[in-house]
Subunit: 343 residues, 4 copies
């Protein structure tokens, strides 16, 4: 029997409604490169969902590509981007940001989250440094929502970061590869329009939230850098059949599907969390979103062998493992029950 | 009524068999980043179809991205790539090659095709130049098959180019974004295994030949550059749900589907060609593949207004238009007949 | 006996007055990175000589570096620079511009000179192209004064180019590696202040005009890009002991030394030209500056063997050689006479 | 009266013997780009001084440029360079390494020095990481000798680092911008040939050790990367009048001048150290080279106001200042006595 996988939130294909739309529209002829009716419709729906009637919306294919393209488009050559030392762009993107010539300026984070005070202290010291012209100018702040550790920023935390950015005149970029899972967390006190209003650019992750691929980049106030389309192409991030991306986001933003399926991941993650705690398995981080990090012993894990898949995040000095179990739009009750039956 | 479009070969979605496979496999859980059973199976089939049992096969998303990634992975920093002045990488990729730090060294081409003698002359002069260390070292030859003008290289032409490359110790890269349409042309005297044996890297285009997206990069003799996977990721060209690409190529290389649907495009293009000629409309280039370039007058084009879409390639001094009509796997007899009824 | 060299204009050390100043000031302690009294004084003198009281002036070390730094600082990532196909940045800088991510967009030139109409035609066609967003945006025009062929632009030619740049909103950059030799040509109808007023950035070449090294970059209207200093450092073009550069330009712009020594080169080149013509040796190009291009036969060159050095530019189909003889600030009457005695 | 400066080791011009040689050789005509007799002679002397008869030696202009060029020439696109978090390339080079597309992988250091165990631990964890193909491959180790804090590696420390590099198959690069000052420290148990034998590339700093400018890059075993000359040019680091660099290094490596003048800096630094300690002023770091870091109070510094210049490195929580006083080849006894008279 095939094992059940909790290794990530991109194990399955796409939400069935997306596949159905693909089938229904397949032979309709459409223009390429995002100039098709599906993209136009998806943009309109995203503008509405974000309460940003003037937003510039672009559809890119994947996360690393989107991060690299946005950052490169908004920074000048001599600028770098501030990120958590544990941030995705700092660690797991094979140097895609540096490939564009930009330094990732890493700052210490707490459970994956940058604090406003950390950023401000860095900027204050930087701008007071007599040698600053010999250093990389911090030209942007990058955070992810949720973070690598599944944690989310509260409204006041995000407002504080935005205020620091404003004081120093640099844009704030929110990587929303898992945005839906953040917004649907019961711990979240932010809405999608609020996210949009508190940053200069963000993206709505599709790949991890029900799409085959795709990330919707939003410049909330029509503030896309000049010639962003060309920059996207230059980065190899422009899909010829843009309809594939437009159709998916159009579907996800019809009747609140994006939020509905995100909610499923959160409900299942909450069940996972309770399951682990009920078995006396502690959590490494109290994640309120779809990634859970139980600390498991060899003995805990033995019954899962060949039956349930997960990721090992880290080995603790005492030999226990920090593991990651991710739920998604596709996680079923049966999968949770199966895991419960084994633990 | 919606107009019928001959503007390009990526107007529709995907071949129905691909959509069916997507439906059938949607909820199967699979690993990401190309480590899934669909990719493994597609690689095996491509190795078989190319008669390259040791080939390294990677699946990337789109053409510009694939060109930039391959070129950057195979060149050193001080090297550039030789291409036809009309080549896609030289003109229509927004500087994606230069973004990776490499010069595109353009040479004059004939109907889109580089000649071996042109390349050899350039290399001879270059290596005899006393100032050559102050110049960009030509480190690769890039050609496309078919070219931007729909033309294809004959076996002897390709052998001659390969021989020049070998003499100068530089790799030959074939951009096969429309490879199927080239191979299925009655004018083609090359097979897929021969293409593979006559170059150092090439790719099998999916986007323009029946897939939603995807290009299959083949290093025929297991000669992928070290850490090519990481380079792909660094270029933002690694798809998280690699299954989407694997599944499509697996389908296209099952029961010869790739060739079968390519043949449809060629048959329809041949009908187009005959249609134009029968109406006294001359062809700018005698293209043997799926792109046709009729020279049309204002009067010729008037009846198509709002009914049939095409591209204007160029305006001639006498006011006539070089237009492009592209067929594809999806072009139907009815579409050709509709056009015929209007002309 | 050592042969006499006419191979280039950087065969000797520096003008003796520069060496004397180096000796006189050697043990004075000064700040680094261009913040020393020599640089301050040189900047003031250059502002005066260019009639640009608000000019931003920076001192860089060499030509390729200066071209790459200026171009990268003024272009956005998606932009390229227009240059003559024979331009230095297009041919002899080892891809330094592409290293910064920018395409060199080459246009045909006449005797090394770009014509305003050629640039305008290119820009017109580009901006009318429906596919222009898939292409590199032309973001700057680069010309050199004098050109690779020793030719110079007339005032009306330069005004016409500037007018095109203005119409399209892109800056004009003049590479003045041999600026003095251009300005002192009897054929030149432009002054240094006029050069400054007709472009957006240019540099005054020191390396080829009497200095050990050094190029003075001038943004005539205080229009240096933000953080240009940091960009210079990032490009590895910032000299720690900036005094070396400041002192040289301060000396060259004291009592018109720069112009005086440039005049010597022109006088000697004029003698060279008359010498060749008097011997029945034709000129490949009628260069009005310090580089002369006599077309010599094997027989013409035989007596120079081991006695006089020059460069071979090109071999003509009839076997004759286009040679280059360069004079400089350091060329002496005796050297010319020696050559005359041999021919 | 002009204040006496201890701010850095590049306050003065060049050692008088260098200026004299410049005068003596000024009108000798020589080839450009490092192909002159001065460079040839300097290379021979450096090969002898390093006991590396097969060494490839190149002369570049400045430190940042040299670091960026070496690193870019030895890394592939997907590789990064390991450096101390306080290393020059990580902090004070305006992102010159990232400009070339490479990540600086920073590791914690002790008084500016990387420990072999830190590097090995990092490499071990990296290569054991399942996600390593998604990360920047560590492809080189960069250290400086002496470090930013004036500290030096002992022979056993350097051997240990070299052994780690060897185990992981990556080159070791030693930034020797202040190499002379390290080698002449009484605390140093390494010789120049030993330095050469324990790394894969290093450079002998000229700018800070008596030259106007210039760094001599040494690939000890003839192991320069292919086409390094072209890479140097591409980075804008190739000096046209290479003689200026060759002549300086030729002079510095005649009769042991480089070592002799380095010794002066060390003697003066030792006097400085004793002076501070004798006044009860503690040292932040016990630096055995030419940079001293006394911790001074406002009261300590008051008498220096307008008379002696130094750098403030850092302000301690208790309000005292970590200052830097640098000596050099040019520091005189009189300058030390003047400082002593004020403290």
């Amino acid at each position: 029997m095939t094992p059940v996988s909790f290794t990530c939130d991109y194990c399955e294909g796409a939400h069935p409604k997306i596949l159905q739309r693909l089938l229904d529209t397949n032979m309709i002829q459409a223009s390429g490169y995002g100039e098709d009716p599906f993209c136009f419709s998806a943009r309109a729906k995203i503008r509405e969902a974000t309460c940003c009637p003037k937003a510039d919306v672009f559809f890119l294919v994947g996360g690393t590509q989107t991060n690299a393209t946005i950052i490169d488009s908004m920074l000048r050559g001599y600028e770098g981007v501030i990120a958590a030392a544990s941030g995705h762009i700092a660690v797991h993107e094979s140097g895609a940001i540096e490939f564009g010539g930009h330094k990732v300026i890493t700052l210490p984070a707490k459970e994956g989250k940058l604090e406003a005070v950390t950023i401000e202290d860095y900027l204050k010291v930087f701008h007071a440094d007599e040698a600053k012209d010999h250093m990389v100018l911090p030209g942007m702040v990058y955070i992810s929502f949720p973070t690598e550790y599944g944690t989310i920023y509260s409204r006041s935390e995000l407002e504080a970061i935005k205020a620091v950015c404003k004081r120093y005149g640099i844009p704030l970029f929110i990587d929303g590869a898992r945005l839906g899972y953040g917004l649907q967390s019961p711990a979240c006190d932010l809405t999608l329009p609020e996210i949009a209003s508190l940053c200069d650019v963000f993206y709505i992750g599709g790949t991890k939230v029900g799409a085959l691929c795709g990330e919707a980049v939003v410049f909330p106030r029509g503030n896309a850098p000049a010639h962003f389309f060309t920059t996207v192409k230059q980065h190899g991030a422009l899909l010829a059949k843009g309809r594939l991306l437009g159709l998916q986001f159009d579907t996800l933003f019809t009747d609140g599907l994006y939020f509905e399926i995100s909610r499923n991941a959160i409900e299942k993650a909450t069940e996972l969390k309770q399951l682990f705690l009920s078995k006396g398995i502690p959590l490494y981080i109290d994640s309120p979103t779809n990634q859970q990090f139980p600390i498991m012993t060899k003995e805990d894990l033995a019954p899962l062998e060949g039956k349930v898949l997960y990721e090992v995040w880290e080995t603790l000095p005492d030999g226990r493992f920090v593991t990651r179990f991710a739920t998604s739009w596709a996680t079923s009750e049966a999968q949770i029950e199966y895991l419960a039956s084994l633990l």
